[in-house]
Symmetry: C2
Subunit: 296 residues, 2 copies
Amino acid sequence: MNAELKDFLNENKQEIEQRLPKYLEQLPAPKTLKEAMIYSLNAGGKRIRPVLLLATLHSFGKPVELGYDVACAVEMIHTYSLIHDDLPAMDDDDMRRGKPTNHKVYGEAIAILAGDALLTYSFELITKANVGDLSAEQKLLLIQELAKASGPEGMVGGQVADLEGENKALTLDGLVYIHHHKTGDLLTVSIVAGAIIAGANEKDITNLRLFAKELGLLFQIKDDILDVEGDAITIGKPVGSDDGNNKSTYPSLLGLDGAKKKLEEHKLRAKEYLYEVEMNHHLLEALTDYVAERDH
Amino acid sequence: MNAELKDFLNENKQEIEQRLPKYLEQLPAPKTLKEAMIYSLNAGGKRIRPVLLLATLHSFGKPVELGYDVACAVEMIHTYSLIHDDLPAMDDDDMRRGKPTNHKVYGEAIAILAGDALLTYSFELITKANVGDLSAEQKLLLIQELAKASGPEGMVGGQVADLEGENKALTLDGLVYIHHHKTGDLLTVSIVAGAIIAGANEKDITNLRLFAKELGLLFQIKDDILDVEGDAITIGKPVGSDDGNNKSTYPSLLGLDGAKKKLEEHKLRAKEYLYEVEMNHHLLEALTDYVAERDH
């Protein structure tokens, strides 16, 4: 990872992590509920979505401060989705990032409600977000984009398709649908939200949306490849764990070499879209390379 | 119930019920997910929240059509809360309004996701709502009010307090907190949303908010009284069922006569606030009387 990218990621990850619990601490709400919400917000992770939003703003030459509130709202939506995904009725996971999952600590009822509360609060947060002189119309657009990306047409739809695809042989189209929606849409909206806050024009937003879609697939294909090739300690989960689930993956559908070829294709295409955008490309280009070349 | 109120309720309930599934039928989302969302939206109920919103608009002399989209968004939020409340980890209910609950038909995972999707979609719907010439600022205010009323400070907070109060002796303050938030906040925001769409001034909105709080308590106290006094067939659940749960209620805390006295107090106070508002009071006054005097 190049030094500019590394510094940017570290600084902004820290900033976001300091801010996340602050929104909730002072909220007039039951203590247990706030604790459960904050527990999962504080559970770490790459904070890739908020950082993508801030990186986009920065690449348009705007101060990252303008994106903090919306970036935190996106991370709250991501966190709610993890809490609900981990529930016994869904993936039934006891641990996430080395810590017990929300329902293991607070019980299922509170975990469901903590997820609901994070999702709902994220929209309230955007209505109050400090985004400089952004118009009310643009704020409404942010809410619309975010709701679309996380609702039935987006993340929740992808999650349902994933559930229905379990233990079934998927086609490549089926696999791409799941990735686009289950994980891709929220990554994409992070970048689009950064562009909206930066006041980007429609052409730039369209190209960034296409760039983000490619980046999301890149992310997923690389994950699948690492799952086959990677070292269990480096990536932090059992190597080949998706295989044991009978889950369709890029390598299982295309072979390892085929998956690596796809990775290169999507990387090239991502950069083509990126270069069309009138912004400084350094940071997002470095990020694209990192996503494709990382070893964990 | 007087004829004006009866006609208004029937006509608008029908209109809302026709509209609710239409938003989702054409949505590009997995079939099972849309079916599960529509199943619970079509499961009936009084549609009291949307009708309150429309009644408020009408009382300000505005066409009810301006409120349809936002009224449907509120009903979607109410429906999501019922789906999640019925889950095995929460109230574990198999039946609601004479039909199997969502998770009994679609399984727990889909039920959780259908609830998540309804909540998320409701915010998207407001961003696109046809509300005449309402400004983007006012639409943002609608979203903020609705998120606040349904999130950790509102409905979800009330639900957590209710869970924590189970099998505990509650004080009257504790009981009021639960009712205000678990059910009252969404009723209140329905009326406030109607006022915002009507372009009401701040003083009127404040008085309507106070009116709505009283109306919400009225509703709950009357429910508690009916649960003790009512006829099992008329109210459709076993008489005294809250008693079997060890749930604190108004009659259990104040005695039946004390609860009836409270009912009268809140009815008077509700009307006092209502009369302060510059609008035609007939419809909302008739509704207040109906809530306090109904026999089911």
